[in-house]
Amino acid sequence: MSILQLHQLSKSYGRIKAVQDLSLTVNRGNIYGILGPNGSGKTTTLGIVLGILKNDSGNYEWFDGQYGNKALLKIGALLETPNFYPYLDAQRNLDIVAHIKKVKQPRIDELLKLVNLAHRRKSVFRSFSFGMKQRLAIAAAMIGDPEVLIFDEPTNGLDPQGIAEVRETILRIAQMGKTIIMASHILDEVEKVCTHAAIIKNGKLLASGTVGAIINQDMMVDLRSSNNHQLLRILKQHLNIRQIEEKQDLLSIQIADEIDPAKINQIAFENGIVLGHLNARKKSLEAEFLELTAKG
């Protein structure tokens, strides 16, 4: 069963096309990252599927339509800033969420513990720091144990400790087997957390699929030896090298297939060259992302 399907969704704000003919499918168990620079239409897309924005054309469907207009009750979402009643305490704010979701036993104490706010249960929302508000919003999203969780820029505006805490929380939720849809402009975040991703720019879909498929499998290897020129000549005979870059005495090559770095060391050594430096890494999603969005 698919969790969410978008068919050619479009929305404009005046002359600005925020989302254009966007189609994608999120399946059960996916941790789906929606990646794009600021203003690319991520929040608008999520706003439409969460019912707060009206799309101009196209359509979307939750859970293959099996819950009808009650679908949102099965979804926990944190969109942009956390919004609560400022004059109510944490407990009462979560009570309201549980009431709307019609959850009989919301286990609010447990959730507050999960997001590290148990000690502030009776404090009014107004008195919370931004990080605490964000964490309360995560707790709110988890009320009723929803099948799907949506996080929009979950680490935005948080300090490093807050970012770490939120990411850890999301990973913990992901391990429970939930479907997660997460919008972010931080690639590292998506790369670390997601199984699937869609990259959008100016409201258009540039690429979608598993994170592995979107990121190509090329490897980047940095090398240094006393004779880089000789080394390169030898490696070219053994490996499928796509790209070469030399910075001072550091040689960076891009290899088309995944390869054990020990193999490179062996080839060099057998040909009488001793490596002073060897560092193999995957091409980062960041580089990939910049490449893709530059084309788009």
Binding site: I52, K54, N69, N83, F84, Y87, H99, K101
Partner: protein, 270 residues
């Protein structure tokens, strides 16, 4: 319905401005009427000072005082009932959480119905207590006389609240909405009625405006009000709408305002 009413209750139970306004209503309604006791030189018409407190006239005087207080108390509560949801972006959050827009609208309507009912009930209780304590020869007929004011009082509260809900939903900002609510009732509506409408279509139709119709539901047409008589002589029509006219006009405005609120809540991006 109870589910949505409970939701509103959860939201509003700790809202201090609403609490203060309600306390104000509870205190001011009987207190202002009791202030009549301190007038020393009452006009001749009030042969008996008790006229303020006894059946059947108590319904009228208490109603008139309630009219003034409710305009502020219940109108303000209704304005803030929706503007705070926009300003805290909690309406948006409610929808994301899974409340349907229709349910959101209904929760507000149920709330103003319930609040109007409670406000009316308090008016009835105060009226009964004053009447029972001050009427010398009690009779069922005397008690029941003028009680047609009770449903009209309810409709009046509902009218003010609907008007507040309407302005709050259209404007969305608390300060501007409250200002407009007051400005409309005290200046704008009168300017429209007397400076424009009267010049174009002179006649009784100048009375059919929302706040005027609502306040005419429980009018102050006591012997004291000479202005009304002079007005009638000058214009050949009454200063006030008749109860039936006021009821129909108010009901129509309530329907129109609620319909517009419903459309806005359904269609607007949040």
């Amino acid at each position: 319905m109870l589910h949505l009413l409970k939701l509103e209750w959860l939201k509003i139970q700790k809202h201090s401005t609403t609490q203060i306004l309600l306390i104000l209503y509870v205190i001011a309604l009987p207190t202002l009427l009791l202030a009549g006791k301190s007038f020393n030189d009452l006009p001749q018409e009030f042969i008996n000072r008790n006229t303020f407190y006894m059946f059947p006239t108590v319904w009228q005087y208490l109603g008139y005082i309630g009219n003034w207080i409710s305009f502020f108390v219940f109108g303000f509560i209704a304005v803030m009932l929706v503007t705070t949801e926009y300003q805290n972006r909690t309406m948006r959050q409610n929808i994301i959480t899974g409340l349907q827009r229709r349910e959101y609208f209904l929760s507000k309507v149920y709330f103003i119905l319930a609040a109007s009912l409670v406000g009316t009930l308090y008016y009835v209780i105060c009226g009964l207590l004053f009447g029972l304590a001050h009427t010398e020869t009690l009779s069922a007929a005397k008690m029941m006389q003028n009680t047609d004011l009770i449903p009209r009082y309810f409709l009046m509260l509902l009218s003010y609240m609907t008007f507040g809900l309407f302005i709050g939903t259209v404007i969305r900002k608390t300060g501007v909405s409250l200002f407009l609510y007051l400005a409309w009732a005290f200046f704008l509506e009168r300017i429209v009625r007397y400076s424009f409408h009267q010049n174009i279509f002179p006649g009784k139709s100048i009375h059919f405006y929302p706040v005027n119709a609502a306040s005419d539901l429980v009018p102050f047409n006591s012997p004291l009000n000479r202005m009304a008589e002079e007005y009638l002589e000058q214009n050949n029509f009454s200063l006030f709408l008749s109860p039936t006219e006021a009821v129909i006009t108010s009901a129509l405005y309530i329907a129109v305002f609620l319909f517009i609120c419903y459309r806005l809540i359904q269609q607007r991006d949040l």
